[in-house]
């Protein structure tokens, strides 16, 4: 079952795989270009206060996404934390 990145709780120790991208074509294209494409491994590092951007990590890089962008990303649990 895939979850929306926008509503998933942040926990840097949990790895997710991007399942699919959906929504505005321009946003989806940008997400692919920065490395958030279906199949990419990510973790949700933290959320900024007051409904601010969510910080996701892919490889060694941290990216901050607003809700508008996060809504387009659907993720699947990869492995359970030890």
């Amino acid at each position: 079952m895939s979850l929306s990145l926008d509503t998933t709780e942040a926990n840097p120790r949990i790895s997710w795989t991007i399942d699919s991208l959906s929504g505005d074509a321009l946003i989806v294209e940008r997400l692919r270009e920065v490395g958030l494409f279906p199949g990419a491994e990510i973790s949700i590092v933290r959320r900024m206060p007051l409904g601010g951007p969510v910080v996701v990590r892919t490889g060694d890089v941290d990216l901050a996404l607003r809700s508008q962008e996060a809504q387009c990303i659907w993720i699947q649990r990869q492995k359970v934390p030890r």
Binding site: P49, P53, D62
Partner: protein, 640 residues
Amino acid sequence: MHLDSATKSSPMTLPVIALVGPPNAGKTTLYNWITGAKYRAVNYPGSTVEYAIGESAPRMKHRFYLIDTPGTYSLSPKGEDEEITVKALFHQHKVGNISHIVIVVDGTQLNRHLMLVKQIQEIHLPVTVVVTMNDLLKKAGQKLNLKLLTEQLTCPVILFDGVLGEGLTELDQALANAKAPEQFAVRPQSWSPEKLDQAMHWAARLNRDAVKSVKDEVRQSAHQSSVANRTRLLDGFLLHPLLGPLFFFGIMSLLFTSIYWLAAPLMDLIDGSFGASAEFLKSSLPGYVLTDFIADGLIAGFGAVLVFVPQIFILFFGVGLLETSGYLARAATLIDRPLAMLGMSGRSFVPLLSGFACAVPAMMAARNLSSRRDRMITNFIIPLMTCSARLPVYGLLLGLIFIDAPAWQAGLALAALYIGALIVGGLAAAVLNRLIAADRKSVLVMELPLYRPPRLTNILVQSLKRTRDYVWRAGPTILVLSIGIWGASYFPRAPEDAAVSQLEQSYLGKAGQYLSPITEPMGADWRMGVGLLSAFAAREVFVSALAIIFSVENGEENVEGMLSTLKAATWPDGRPLMTVASVCSLLIFFMISLQCLSTFAIAKKESGSWNFAVGQLVALNLAAYVLAVATYQTLHFFGL
């Protein structure tokens, strides 16, 4: 400078090379190494986004022009700055067409950055790939398989170390050996999602194969560089839900304090020395019109331009530190939400904050905003932030109401003025957010780069360049406008034995008198009107202008005298002029109005449009006037 002469004498003799790469890949560092940090800022026609053109420095054997472009993730632009990059690749530049593209990619981010190489190769111009952050790879105990990369990318690949400059000779050699383009640049078609995904997977595979751990082949993927670890550790504090905002306000207070108080003695020094040289000239030269023009018009005008230099330099130095250390991106993320609701982004925070010191450097700092819409809204509301020039005016006006009251009451009123201005600014932003149509959906993905120690000499050079840009590009407008104001208050000359002051009988004074039917509804007589008009030179001039008109002895130095004279002033029918109602009305007016020609000049420069600058001038002053009238009439009705 030398670039201009070179273009004129020998046009198109040097090849033109473009530097393209994703944000934070180290493009500007490479640019500085190649050109010796010499550049000329160029605006793409019809745009305010700048890119730099420079000539290769003597340390390079190969001679060429280098064009630095705003960072882009792909050739399919998502914002104005990326659009400029793409346009610049196909644009006929003054120095010639681009014949070679140097693509700068981050060695620790190859899986994300190599896709851009593939896209750019479809342009069919010769390319060279420069892999940066080699120092980070080394620290992480990793090594790049250059042979494999060169084979797979089918173009020269050069390793570059931005700290030591290693790799510059190899790049020089590769550029010297590069072939001339076989055909004109082709604008590639946009890629389908499938093609993009394929390219990203290809890049991820190539990254896996090309980056090998020297120490331990097996633990390669688990191996994280010390810089990455340091970044995680720092982010644990700086982006902590509770500590993060605390650090944010601490760091921003430090930045603000330095532009507000650190700059003050330098500004006083500039102000003082220009004032003293004007006085010296007037006392040593005969009292002709020309002497007055040089002293009060020209010298004072240069003073008006240069007085902003300390603030601009300090602000850009501070922003440079925050930007290159990696903190600015975090700060923007932290404060993004509230600003996003007003149509801006977290990046608008620093310009808005600077507006509390002065709108001129603040609008210049807004140049770093990549979205045109974001920049427009931010620049529009910057003059609503309570700048330091308003303080002398507030001091005088609050003194009139609270002269005998305990100090905390005046303090509270001052705080109310600051907060009131913020509320008006928020409302204005909200209105603009509705009015300005989004020309395209804004896509915001903010990369949080690794924390790195800032390189002070580079920041110093960049801040000096910014400051010089200001003097050359906005300076002339400010000079002309301030000489204009001087002329309006100087001509026509009053006769020697006249009973009225020169200011009263000048064009400016006359204008104030003609405008009295307009100023009276806000509780201001013609004398106040002249003061308001004079304030267009700079807001604090209001105080000295009132001192002249009300002929207060010792002028503005004499605060007691000013307060008692103003308190005693009456309308022709004997009613007191400065009532609670009229003072509040003036306070409201100063809180909102854009009474600063330097701000107007910089708004024109930064927006690149007279429409914006004039529209802002009219809108803010009209709003200030309407609210001032409403305030006066309401309070007056209640007998205050």
